[in-house]
Symmetry: D2
Subunit: 348 residues, 4 copies
């Protein structure tokens, strides 16, 4: 009953096998390994983007930060949702790598609207040299609330950005979960929707730790490489990143894993809906559910061995009826039995 995070589960066996296979003999370091040549072509094929620059990096914070560093100037502001991972969960890494600041667009359910974005853009920039200048837009897909932008919504956001000459970045830590939920192609969810660069997640969906940075404008490639190195994010024994991504993309493993995770989330949401004490807060569209229950119910579940985050339980008011929000995340390795076991426990 482990629903704490999709980074708490194991790596998929095929990824581990690829790692073992890569551990033979000598290989040039720093991205010059032959597996990376394959990975580059795999990613380009997945995105139908034969010119894209493709790089690997160890985690989502680094992927977002180095990409945004390449896209933003230090006198700019980056537009993102008020609950964006780059704002709340990266300890100023985006600011460190860009020098820029962040402008927060309201997103009660995790999703910005084009209208809200437009009014924030207009609000931020009417001061000439005095104020921060308009920098890139960063969109998280799947959002931090477990919701998903439709392709139309994505296009509306990037079109708004383009009206002001702004580029668009996609934080795709859960790219696969969104893609399979929308049942569209990677190209449709990225460059065809106006996205200029993607943090393409692997870590949360079966890898040990690897993300691809996909930049559709190859002119930015060299700057990205320098910024990655300067951030200490160029791995010497790079083949172990390459091997993970190679296996992740081979034979659609990444899509299978995301579909599995999403399916468990559907199962879990259906169960929760039958349980009147739990209120689902946002429409769960991928692999993550936010559900409100009384403190006493959370306590009962956690004491019985369920593992998940209670978002607003501190400090402990002692009130057993207080409604607290639990976050339940399904990764690829959660089984239908795990979910059933959790729901059985919930029903008492």
């Amino acid at each position: 009953m482990y629903f704490a995070s999709d980074n708490a589960g194991p790596a998929h066996p095929k990824v581990m096998e690829a790692l073992i296979a890569a551990n033979e003999g000598y290989a040039m370091g720093y991205g010059a390994d032959p597996i990376m040549d394959e990975v580059r072509e795999q990613v380009r094929a997945v995105f139908e983007a034969p010119q894209a620059a493709v790089y690997l990096i160890i985690n989502g914070t680094a992927a977002n930060s180095v990409l945004l560093g390449t896209m933003a100037q230090p006198w700019q502001t980056i537009f993102c949702s008020s609950c964006a991972h780059i704002h709340e969960d990266e300890c100023n890494a985006p600011e460190f790598y860009t020098g820029a600041k962040l402008t927060l667009v309201p997103a009660p359910d995790g999703k910005m609207t084009a209208d809200d974005l437009r009014s924030k853009i207009l609000g931020e920039e009417n001061r000439g040299v005095h104020g921060p200048q308009r920098g890139p837009l960063s969109i998280t897909q799947v959002t931090e609330k477990g919701t998903i932008y439709t392709l139309e919504e994505l296009r509306a956001l990037t079109a708004t950005a383009q009206d002001f000459g702004m580029k668009a970045h996609l934080d795709g830590a859960r790219f696969a979960n969104a893609l399979t939920a929308l049942d569209c192609s990677p190209a449709e969810m990225s460059w065809k929707a106006g996205i200029d660069a993607v943090s393409f997640g692997g870590t949360k969906n079966g890898a040990l730790g690897v993300e691809a940075c996909v930049i559709f404008d190859p002119e930015l490639a060299w700057e990205f490489e320098l910024r990655r190195k300067r951030g200490g994010h160029l791995l010497s024994k790079h083949r172990y990143l390459s091997a993970q991504m190679q296996a992740y993309l081979a034979d659609g493993l990444w899509l299978d894993l995301a579909r599995a995770a999403n399916a468990r989330c559907v199962q879990l949401a259906e169960g929760l809906r039958k349980y009147s004490t739990a209120q689902i807060l946002f429409e769960p569209q991928a692999n993550m559910i936010f559900s409100e229950m009384p403190r006493r119910e959370h306590k009962r579940m956690l004491d019985a061995g369920a593992v998940y985050y209670v978002m607003n339980g501190e400090p402990d008011t002692g009130d057993p009826d207080e409604q607290l929000i639990g976050r339940l995340v399904c990764d690829w390795s959660i089984t239908s039995d795990h979910v059933s076991q959790f729901l059985d426990l919930l029903r008492g």
Copy 2:
């Protein structure tokens, strides 16, 4: 005949086995995995430093940069050798993480002397608020030229730093190679020699990619954690770093691997010395040899399948007699047969 780098060889099988073993079930992320608790104690025991703060990070550039960020202020200058990795090979990462600058101390054979350090310190700081202030000293052990500071030399350097209130950092990317060559204890080569923090390398000596940052003053621990996170260097699935370091340290594997690498280097150096065309430039004391040969000889070797770096061969002057420097590095996986094969080839 692969002598290009100690990051071009494979990870040791025991490290891979530990990785596989760690890939079971769920584990809390971000360093809260139970293996990390073991690793912390392993490292403290190795260093006889029960209070030390211990963190894992993916590579040496990151280890050096985050540690120096924790030790230096942005208005300071960091003293290091003129061929230090932090100066030549990290694309301004130390400057990025610290805001400080570097003052280069001469080191013809890779090693600074305490006298040269002292005169650089005195030369840098006599300008009050106008000039950069004295920041930490960073020492590389094994040096970038394959030489090793004796314990006396280390202590002379750190004592000089202490005379000016400066802390000392040890870049120990090849810590194990130096330690086994000196036949001393980790404590003797670190805090007992006046070192305040160590980048303790694993990557070049049998790991896939992991270094321990060891800070002997635990008061700096929280700042280090924040700086690591802000640099994008806190891994979510941290157990895969922990497992590497656990296996690396278990049963003295790290020492065995370093001894093996050093022994191959001795074998290689002895062979080279018998070959009059090759001139060894510095006394090889660990696992790295710099050897001068005519361009034609390098060409012959490389054409025959030997792999190593020729440091100063560009641009190609076309002069077959030109003396060029080859760098030959032995990692743990180089066998005696590899070395013999190389030497046989050399002898023609």
Copy 3:
């Protein structure tokens, strides 16, 4: 009829005289001029703070940025109002000097409440190492909307900050205007109200360009000096800053000038209130009024030679009835006749 800004008027003649007087003979540079010794004591006396560290700097953006750089860490977030000058009008200078980010507290009339501050603080920090850490609070007095915090309100804000171990900075670009309006002492409006450091403005109130940075904890003095120098803000011919501040503080000139400016603002507000077409938006408590009028009225005034900013007139909708906000600022040099002339024009 020049109400554009309090940085558009001239310097006071006494300040110019002091500058001329200072231009005799030789003086040590970089703050070692004898006038600075006087200024330091003047400022300490004004603030009843004999231990305070006192430095001069050329403008408010620099004063705020270097002070906040000394008070904040790069992994923190600085709490300020959503319309703070440090957020809207300094082109990321505070972020540049601190590395930190800003958390915006709602302030519809320019003033944060302690409750809103508390809930932002609680909202920002419940993520351990993942999120930005709590940094200092920055309060603007007079606010950017022309309103003033009472001493009670100031103390409530700083007490809230102290509950979380946070320091407090006061952006006092219009310190004198607030002080004379509140009719309290500088100590009461600063350290007695829990403020740790003040940007004490001179530029907007009769100087050519000088602000004092007043730090009540002298332990931060040397770090401030280094950060000022590193920002390029230590003047070689420093006496010309010192002379301005000396004259500004001598014989209460600074208080007289602020009282004059505030009085003109009262006169202007009274006139506006009699004119039904103009709606004053916030309670003008110092030297600045925000007043709404139809676009046609603004046009008439500006065409007739009045000079002030219309905040939201772009793009021009062409609608003559559209309500637009004009900002009217009185500096020390505005006369009663200027105000009367403006009001006469308004009445047609």
Copy 4:
């Protein structure tokens, strides 16, 4: 007998008069004052550069740092002499504004040679993404040793830089002193000699505190403006910068003042040469002399009221015969009598 620095003397009366004249009525802030329009044309005319971007800033450290920030990338290294002001006397401001590092080219007499520059460039960059990349060249004219590059020497340096695609910056804190000594045109000593941007000094030569940043490629103008603002270096009451530069350039005042300073330096050097105890270290070509004398002689002069810096007198060895270097700087206001008085004293 005040030879401490050319920033210790007063501003020229004509500059003060211009300041007073500028203090009439209202003027738009932030560089939109009408005097700045004149200054821009004055500077363009002086440099025969009708398209140049021209900005004012308060001091040389800021001028250098913001210009280099506009010219360099954070993964680069800036080439400068080992005694460059940007290296020794700006407390890491250039590193702060650029993120880059500095590569020091030997310059025993203050002047780099093109050969030394070339070998440093070749030495710094043969490591691809691993090492810092080649950034701009920064040349100081007059050098920190009081020597001057000939136009041929300047052109050789910038041609070397151009061979590697590098831009060139001129730190002209003493531009006027060099120009009048070389008897050439500003264009010849800047863009015609391959310089891309100039820190054009006023402060050391009769102003209170103003430097012009002259950028010959107007495409960099907007970035410069944003970087200046982000550094806190855009003055609100900008007219007081403009007025200084206006008077400085009017009727060749700047050239007259530099000629006067240089002439006093010639007089002083001639006197020193007659005094066998003093050894002039470098050929004084502008307004600055470095002269070695025994400690006892320095002590006698300083005790008698002469004011200048002894560069290497700390710590006091007590040896009266120890040779110490005195730096003697003549600013515009030093008179022939001052020099005679000093020389008389020297002769006893």
